[in-house]
Amino acid sequence: MNTTALAAFMTKEVRHILRDRQTLTILLLLPLAMVVLFGYALRSDVNEVRLALVDPAPDYATAALRGRFAGNARFRIVATPETMAKLEPLFRRGDVDVAIVFEPGFAARLAEGTPARLLLVGDASDPNTGSTMQAYATAVIAGYQAELGSAGAGVQIVSRTRMRYNPTLESVNLFVPGLIALVLTLVSALMTAISLSREKERGTLEVLLVSPLRPWQIILGKVLPYLLLAFANVVTALLAAWVVFRVPFRGSLALLLVASMLYSMVSLALGVLVAAVTTSQRAAMIGALVGTMLPNELLSGMIFPISSMPDWLRPVTAVIPARWFIVIARGIMLKGVGLEYLWQAHLVLVLMLAVFLALAIRSFKPRLA
């Protein structure tokens, strides 16, 4: 008897979703649009770095480095001033983004095994772009060093910066896990909050609460259809990322899907909670946006690295579900690691789910008033 009631309720929920064609279309196309948009437009990669080289005493090593920069699609050598003094006006006019200044006798020092120094100057008026460009340049130099190193020469390491897992520094690789989190939050938290508060606003929830349906059945019936939608969204986002941007996928697809559903359930429970504490659809929508979308987007490391947050803010990110999901998704997709490294993040999500779900069911106890 209970199962037919649940089935009837869920059928109704699926009908609501299918009948609202516009919303459904938007929800299904959203992950595709987001991946393409973020991938092309909002990536923090800098495509053409205008480079100036100051090379007072050219030798084979500086020539080799120049060659590497000239052959790199990201860099365009725009000037080769003889002295550093001539560099200044170039920066002021904004003609140059990054400059590399070699010290005289660069190759000789390399051969001796003493540190060969070069100065990397970047236009950091936009700090993010500046550091990104610097990182690109460092990566090119590091590539040359590695080549020398493998040739057997005892080359001193100038820079200790290493760009592991994302050697080409493609920001789209980092964005995709965050995008999946964003889409899941939207579909799970926002849509459930709206759909549940709609029932509250229209008075149908009251009728459901008076019926033999139990609170957990109402929540389950509400949430399950959206979980299916969320699943479809993850698959779309992954496909789009792979087809359009060839984003690597190194780990277990099954584990990522499981983690996605886990994260989705945490968001669904949050959506139910938001609907429970708000009294109108509009309030629920704003509540879901401010309470789930915003913190998940800003404090999860999706866009702004947690390591660059102030000390007091960093511990706060521990309660942000997306933060843990992104750890999992990046771990699986980019590093190819499995549960042996990611079990803690999974555990945190499971605990969050338990707490939020208990709160959500409690908040729906009909006799709460």
């Binding site: 008897m1 209970n2 037919t4 009631a5 089935a7 009837a8 309720f9 059928t11 109704k12 009908r15 609501h16 009948r19 609202d20 229209r202 008075g203 149908t204 009251e206 009728v207 459901l208 609460l209 008076v210 019926s211 033999p212 349906l213 009909p366 006799r367 008033a369």
Partner: protein, 242 residues
Amino acid sequence: MTAVIDVHELTRRFGRFTAVDAISFDVKAGEVFGFLGANGAGKTTAIRMLIGLLTPTSGRASVAGFDVLTRAEDVRRRIGYMSQRFSLYQDLTVRENITLYGGIYGLSDAEIRGRGEALIEELELGHASLERVAALPLGWKQKLAFAVALLHRPAVVFLDEPTSGVDPITRRQFWEMIYAAAARGTTVFVTTHYLDEAEYCDRVSIMVDGRIGALGTPDELKRKYGDATLEEVFVRLARPAA
């Protein structure tokens, strides 16, 4: 006749405010019971306790033979409820709404089909059964909502201002449906602001400031207060509250 609704000293306080103050009454099987009162007199609070949406502060009540506090599950299976606000899903069709509520109350597919057909025929909704409820005129929506609330053949049906905003002809049809339900043995517990409607009830109670100010058949009440209509009785009793 046993009491289908049995209320004893039922009380509900919100902080210091006593919304329902130790009310006692009973409603017999097959009775049409009018539950009247001015806005804020405590009607809604009382109904919410009877249908299990609100916990009483003290006192007890049983509905359909089960205590509303300790046997809420059993109560829920045996009551129907039509809220003040329209309670069907507007984006679902007439048939889909019937299937949904039938399913929620655990009816079999055959029962849902059989009763659903009968209901659609009775309401003469055959031509509109595949249309979304949103497309129906308000009067029909209300009649449909009532019929759906009766689909699982509850012992008691609670109607919270079912006819507000409905034209006089539909109101009359609505009351014919109420009588038909009562004739089949369903107890009808109805609140209304239309005192001409209250005259159709077997018995009415008038709540004043959280208490039951008067209770009896419409004729008894009119005789007792020497008024020609229930409306005069109502205004006489409710005035001190205002």
